[in-house]
């Protein structure tokens, strides 16, 4: 028994003193902190994607612009709701302005929330209300930058695009395009052919990057909504009903017969009870995998350095095995408990990380960094960046985008 304890203690101390163990211990809380900071950072640093649309039907540009406006309202609502959750006394808001809380709570699941947000005056109307009830030391609210901006194709180039003039399209995507706010680099160019309809839902899509889906996903969604609205209208539905039809979403309130006290409602505690064992199982698996590799390396060292001979000359193989397993299990347990404990602390650190991220994104250095990532209207066209992004005809030419 004494030998088992001695071996287990040595094994345990050997594991917990390694750099690998410390790094593994910091993995989960580090992920929480860094993930939170990156989320905040990227929310403000996604490059602006400028795109142009040549609509040969002359009908779908309003649908695209409406979808852009909806997306911007949705993004603003999301950022405002996140900011309010961390910085505002929402209980006080709920008492004083219950309609505002309804809007903030709805943003995640209701597609019409963005429009409702806009109808209530958007950020301009809601922010002062929330700021009046903000907690002390609240971070300032930073509205999101637009991620997608549609620009007009210069008049001289429209005909060339319609003719599928490769050189003209290449020049449009490779050289800055003049806009009312200055020259910008086009990320994508879409051509909606004259025959575009619900029977022929295809467009041509040109882009400097075929792996970045933001613009093509947006166009697909906007035009699908446009087509559906037209089909609904043709079927005799008025525009309001058609919009309602498009925005329809089902919200599922869950109940359980076991929750008599709450009238059957499934509470957050119930959800935690379901998720906690899954989380613990996942952490256990991670801990076992981490410790198993350390155990393997330790056994290899003992074998190669002949320590194993000294051990086997001092105790039985069974005691050696049990001691090693007990030590490794204890280390895995500490790893798991450490992950849970430090993740709670990390959640607090996450707020600090978000503040640092906000500072970086608002400081004078970050715009420069952002500009370096993507040529934009604020800087001259970068030849290096342009070369790195090959101009290629979209897949839609060979396999047209089905709308």
């Amino acid at each position: 028994m004494n030998a088992i304890f001695l071996i287990a203690r040595r094994e345990f101390l050997q594991y917990v003193r390694t750099r690998g163990f410390i790094l593994t211990l910091l993995l989960v809380p580090g992920w929480v902190v860094i993930g939170g900071a990156l989320k905040h950072l990227f929310a403000h640093t996604d490059p602006v994607r400028y795109f142009a649309v040549v609509d040969e039907t002359g009908q779908y540009m309003p649908d695209i612009d409406r979808a852009l406006a909806d997306d911007r309202q949705q993004a603003s609502l999301g950022m405002l709701a996140d900011w309010a959750r961390n910085n505002v006394d929402l209980t006080a808001v709920a008492k004083a302005h219950p309609d505002v809380v309804d809007i903030l709570v709805a943003h995640g699941s209701d597609p019409a929330a963005g429009r409702s947000f806009a109808a209530h005056g958007g950020t301009a109307a809601l922010l002062p209300i929330l700021q009046s009830l903000a907690r002390a030391h609240a971070t300032p609210f930073v509205p999101p930058d637009p991620h997608l901006v549609r620009v007009d194709v210069p008049g001289a180039a429209v005909d060339a695009v319609r003719r599928h003039d490769f050189a003209a399209i290449k020049a449009l995507l490779e050289t800055p395009v003049s806009t009312s706010t200055g020259p910008v680099s086009l990320f994508a160019l879409a051509v909606i052919p004259g025959r575009f309809s619900s029977d022929s839902p295809r467009i041509d899509y040109w882009s400097r990057s075929q792996v970045e889906p933001t613009v093509q996903d947006f166009l697909r969604r906007a035009l699908e909504d446009g087509l559906r609205a037209r089909v609904a209208s043709a079927a005799g539905l008025d525009a309001g009903t058609a919009r309602k039809f498009l925005d329809m979403a089902v919200v599922l309130d869950r109940y359980s017969p076991a929750n008599a006290a709450s009238g059957g409602s499934v509470t957050q505690a119930d959800q935690i009870r379901i998720l906690f064992p899954c989380g613990v199982a996942l952490l256990t698996l991670l801990a076992i995998l981490s410790i198993a590799s350390m155990l393997l390396m330790a056994v290899m060292e003992e074998k190669s350095s002949r320590v194993i001979e000294m051990l086997l000359a001092s105790t039985s193989p069974q005691r050696l095995l049990v001691g090693k397993l007990v030590g490794a299990t204890a280390a895995a347990f500490v790893l798991m408990v450490g992950w849970i404990a430090t993740s709670n602390g990390a959640a607090s650190l996450r707020a600090v990380a978000s503040l640092i991220a906000w500072f970086l994104s608002a400081s004078k250095w970050f715009p420069a960094l952002r500009n370096a990532r993507m040529p934009s209207a604020d800087m001259p066209h970068s030849h290096t960046m342009c070369c790195a992004m090959s101009v290629a005809r979209s897949m839609s030419f060979d396999a047209p985008l089905v709308m």
């Binding site: 004494n2 050997q14 060292e301 350095s305 002949r306 320590v307 001979e309 000294m310 086997l312 000359a313």
Partner: protein, 309 residues
Amino acid sequence: MTGNVLDVAHLAKRYGSLTAVRDLTFTVEPGEVLGFLGPNGAGKTSTLRMILGILKPDAGTIRLFGQPWSMQMQPRIGYLPEERGLYRGMKAADAVAYFARLKGLDSERARRGTDAMLERLGLASIAGQRIESLSKGLAQKVQLAAAIAHAPDLLILDEPFSGLDPLNQQIIEAIIADEARAGRSIIFSTHTMQHAERLCRRVVILRRGAKVFDGTVDAARRLLPRRVRVEAAENLSFLAELAGVISLAAPLPGSQVWEAVLANGAEPLHLLAACIARGTKPIRFDAAEPTLHEAFMAVAGVRDATAAA
């Protein structure tokens, strides 16, 4: 029941088709230092590992301290493996104390035993250093300290001088001699016959897994006929006619050294007396006894070659 510390009888071990140890029988008496000799692959390490319980014999018996081998015997044995067997990241004092505790000492006794052992071996100054930072000689001394800190009754040393410079070999040899004087029974394997010659009274020589000699160092030397070398300007061929001279080799071209091989019990000084009686003037007379190295070569090497031929 015998009074021996170790009784090995008809021990055998095979690795697949290779027979590492075959029908090996030998004993170690209390307080004896036994040299366990043999060329590479003779089966020395396999035998020592079976005595320690690291390997299980295929046949034969091992009795320790008069009783059949069991795990309970392990605390009474100290072991120094052929290659360094300590955790590289451990401090020297911790490593010694750790193995002392594994051998059954409580924390306090292990610490005291470690401190005393490190002090005795002149290692007190490096007690806090990690094994990986020590020189090979120092690491070997720490390894030896780990083998004897729990004051075992039987000490098994597998190639304790391997890879050490002459100075460190001398230091380790002195430590082993001290342990022997303290009454500990010691088995050590080695390739260096000078160490065995100085430390052991008795040696066991293995060849291809089998015992080819078991006896005292003197008896091993007596395996070879005594040789007398006489250097003189004159012709010494008359020495061949003397009683007790088995053969006489004339000097090689450019040399004046005659080499006579004597029968067991023949007195070398008779040759010197005969030279003087004949009026010759020997420049050099060398009647040294055969060394253990020569005996070892004859037993484990030459005989092997003869058998192969």
